[in-house]
Symmetry: C2
């Protein structure tokens, strides 16, 4: 609760409520119970009771966070990646990146895959080829991405860079692992800038990443004057003109709304 | 942040900082930005900046809680208990309550058991009888407790009453499932009262539940005058007198400390 900001310097040794005045004095200052600095009535925040309630709430929230962190740690599977552990860990299936020339199998448990992904569940429970052979081939993916993907299914954690976030989002969409998809989308939204906005917009569209579509579109609309000069723009017009139409439609709709809003404000 | 308490009634439509006086008036009241009630300087809590910081902190903590809850939901295994699911879920081991006449097996995964309990891990990885036969016999436990225990290993959740908490604590201690042990201990501490304090104290001792030992002991020491009249006391003297000695030793030590503390206060 102790703030990092500073008002003017104050007496460190004063009591909690240094109220000067009150009856008919010329100034009233109080000491903040949180940062301990003095302030005048116009800078007043809460009464003491609300401050105490808020402090209790904060403590409760922190306890809840500790409990939840312990739960996550408990529910997480093992600490080291499966293929770096000395024993087999009772794995009953392997995943391989089928595009690799010398694919290294990533060991896993059918139960974990089925629990995290409805696509894996259908594949494994219906005794399709993958279930019988104990090998699941995954196309268009590197060994690194596949290993990170499988590890995420066990731990709900991944170390992302921009390429890995793209690769995992594609896998998350394909195998319907919503939690991972949200995780990648959040990361990519945080990395959005004018340089990558158009590429991200097209990528997000392709993989149904709605939050990323919206964020990228919003960034593009803020820079419409520069849009048509970008190389990626010309490429997109060539490759998927419907997406370019969508940008213009969204921009027009925003303009109409803004005009209507201004209009309603100017009326009596 | 909106408090549930009430000061005196105030003007609902006033502005945020209704500062009367300031220069040389006879009264200064402010409106709390959280509960919107008026208060005088002596009831002042925080300055506005600290209030805003605290509100932001609260929002951040709530977002963190939402993220952690989503993580827990993701890491949890399946929604329904394993033995109520239509398919096998790729289980590779069963647990049975060996005291039962007609034991109903509780299906599970070696990988989950090994991940949650170092005892199960050693048992299963070292290819002991249990691993080879695919059956783990558990003594001194009911089918209900065993099923609840296994379900906890998958979900980190259990519906407890006092008997179930005891049963699960015993299992958690035996199979070194720390998270479950803490969970049961917390529940039992919350249910402590003078009626069950002695029994809980003895039980906690037997199963190395330190928090429960401490809480029960503290409750017993607050009621020393009534201790020797209780039936459970007489039983404990008979059955495990060392525990009774421990109570008296703790009581004496507390008395000596209190006396020393009083003594140090009375000295100049």
């Amino acid at each position: 609760m102790r703030g990092g900001h500073r008002h003017r310097p104050s007496d460190e040794f004063g009591s909690d409520s240094d109220v000067e005045g009150g009856g008919g004095n010329t100034s009233t200052t109080m000491k903040c119970v949180s940062c301990r600095d003095e302030y005048c009535p116009s800078d007043a925040g809460t009464c003491r009771e609300c401050y105490e309630e808020a402090s209790e709430t904060e403590e409760e929230l922190k306890r809840e966070i500790d409990d939840l962190k312990a739960k996550v740690a408990f529910l997480r599977f093992f600490c080291t990646p499966l293929n770096q552990r000395p024993t087999s860990c009772f794995t009953d299936v392997v995943l391989v990146a089928s595009d690799d020339d010398n694919p290294v199998p990533v060991p896993a448990h059918k139960a974990v895959l089925a629990s995290r992904s409805p696509v894996f569940r259908a594949m494994l429970e219906n005794e399709m080829e993958e279930s019988l052979s104990g090998t699941i081939k995954i196309c268009d993916v590197s060994y690194d991405a596949l290993r990170t993907f499988v590890n995420y299914l066990y731990t709900a954690e991944a170390c992302l860079d921009e390429q890995m976030a793209c690769d995992l989002l594609v896998l998350a969409e394909k195998y319907q692992v919503k939690h991972l998809k949200t995780y990648c989308e959040k990361f990519m939204v945080s990395k959005l800038n004018w340089e990558n906005a158009l590429v991200s917009f097209a990528f997000a569209h392709q993989h149904n990443a709605k939050n990323l579509v919206d964020s990228a579109l919003s960034l593009i609309m803020d820079n419409m004057d520069k849009l048509s000069k970008r190389e990626e723009y010309l490429e997109l017009v060539e490759k998927d003109p419907r997406l370019v139409v969508e940008i213009y439609e969204a921009y027009l709709s925003k303009q109409v709304n803004t005009a209507a809003h201004k209009d309603s404000l100017s009326k009596p």
